[in-house]
């Protein structure tokens, strides 16, 4: 007989939810690192490509 849920299903659901959260956290960390590094104009991957500095907004003299 096939039961809809089993203790094993509950356990696996918990494990899968945990792995899902970890993966989501990893994506958030990579995204956050990208924002910080690009914002600082760093050459993240050593390709020589960096973001352009922000244009000066002062009105000058």
């Amino acid at each position: 007989m096939i039961r809809a849920t089993h203790e094993l299903h509950h356990r696996r659901r918990g494990r899968n939810a945990g792995i899902g959260l970890l993966l989501f956290g990893f994506v958030a960390i990579v995204f956050g690192m990208t924002i910080v590094k690009v914002g600082k104009g760093q050459d993240v991957l050593g390709t020589g490509m960096v973001s352009a500095p922000a244009p000066a907004t002062g009105t000058g003299g």
Partner: protein
């Protein structure tokens, strides 16, 4: 496999690992020391690092340390099963298969080194890779079962995190980071030998050639005293560098006095006296060694914060 087959008792459902079993593979208690010392190494460095990169760098150092722990548990499952202290670890208890421990360890090793290179720099990532290699190959696979100096040389693996933290901030190696490394390197043997004094039968049963097993308790007591003297000298040398300050000097003086006193008490005892009080002095020394490391690195952090405040006012 059909769903109905899941209800078969032959599957051994109790052996299905949970997420916490995989987490236990990473040796969370060791990881907490790695996080703390790496964080201190990073924060006392004279270079400002973005708080988010501090978080990610320390996280990947911790994951690298955890990966080394998983690989250690994979290789040492046979002796872990013999020792009381380790027989409930995920692999010997059957919660996680050796293959899974190996896979997790290798995957997290690669991930942590790669991500630390992106989060910080190649030197920090290289040091982390070397730390994992040193702990798994040099210590676990080679030294641990071969020489009573296993803890002395293998202790280097646990000494790298503050050096990696410093490298994250500065991109280099300096006298300060080398002395932080040396402090943990010299602290590790008396810490573990005091544990081995009251856990002797465990290491003996497992065939691990700890100094207590190969040279006896008296020799181990002499070694603890000698290393404690060297440790005091090293910590006072650290006080003379740019990261030492008043909090560290006071903490180092007090803790070294207590540590040396404890080491002398251990040295003056013999096994009969130790057995009479159930190794009370050795157990207190082991706990004191944990406080020693925590308070000295905490003092370095406090001095760095004081310098930051002073710099803000100046």
């Amino acid at each position: 496999m059909s769903d109905s087959s899941l209800h078969s008792p032959s599957l051994g459902l109790a052996a299905e690992p949970e997420l916490k079993d995989y987490f236990a593979l990473l040796k969370p208690r060791v990881m907490s020391l790695v996080v703390f010392t790496a964080l201190v190494g990073l924060l006392v460095a004279p270079v400002h690092v973005h708080p988010f990169l501090v978080f990610t760098s320390v996280l990947f150092i911790a994951i690298g340390g955890g990966a080394a722990g998983a690989l250690n548990m994979w290789w040492d499952a046979d002796i872990d099963a013999v020792m009381r202290r380790t027989r409930n670890r995920p692999v010997p208890s059957g919660k996680v298969s050796p293959g899974e421990a190996l896979g997790l360890g290798l995957a997290l090793s690669g991930l942590s080194v790669m991500m630390l290179a992106l989060s910080a720099n190649l030197l920090a990532a290289g040091l982390l890779a070397f730390t994992i290699f040193f702990y798994v190959v040099i210590y676990t696979m080679w030294l641990k079962r071969w020489t009573p100096q296993n803890i002395v040389i293998g202790g280097a693996a646990g000494a790298f995190p503050p050096m990696i933290g410093w490298a994250v901030a500065t991109g280099g190696i300096s006298v300060e980071s080398l002395l932080m490394f040396t402090l943990i390197f010299i602290w590790t043997p008396p810490h573990f030998w005091s544990l081995a004094l009251f856990m002797k039968s465990d290491y003996d049963d497992a065939g691990v050639p700890m100094l207590t097993v190969t040279h006896g308790h008296d020799a181990t007591r002499r070694h603890i005293l000698a290393y404690s003297v060297a440790l005091a000298a090293c910590s006072l040398a650290l006080a003379l560098t740019s990261i030492g300050g008043p909090v560290f000097v006071v903490t180092a003086l007090v803790m070294n006095a207590r540590f040396l006193l404890g080491a002398v008490r251990i040295w003056r005892r013999d096994t009969a006296q130790a057995q009479a009080d159930a190794y009370g002095v050795e157990k207190r020394f082991f706990k004191l060694s944990l406080w020693y490391m925590f308070l000295l690195f905490g003092a370095l952090l406090a001095d760095a914060m004081l310098r930051g405040l002073w710099g803000g006012f100046a």
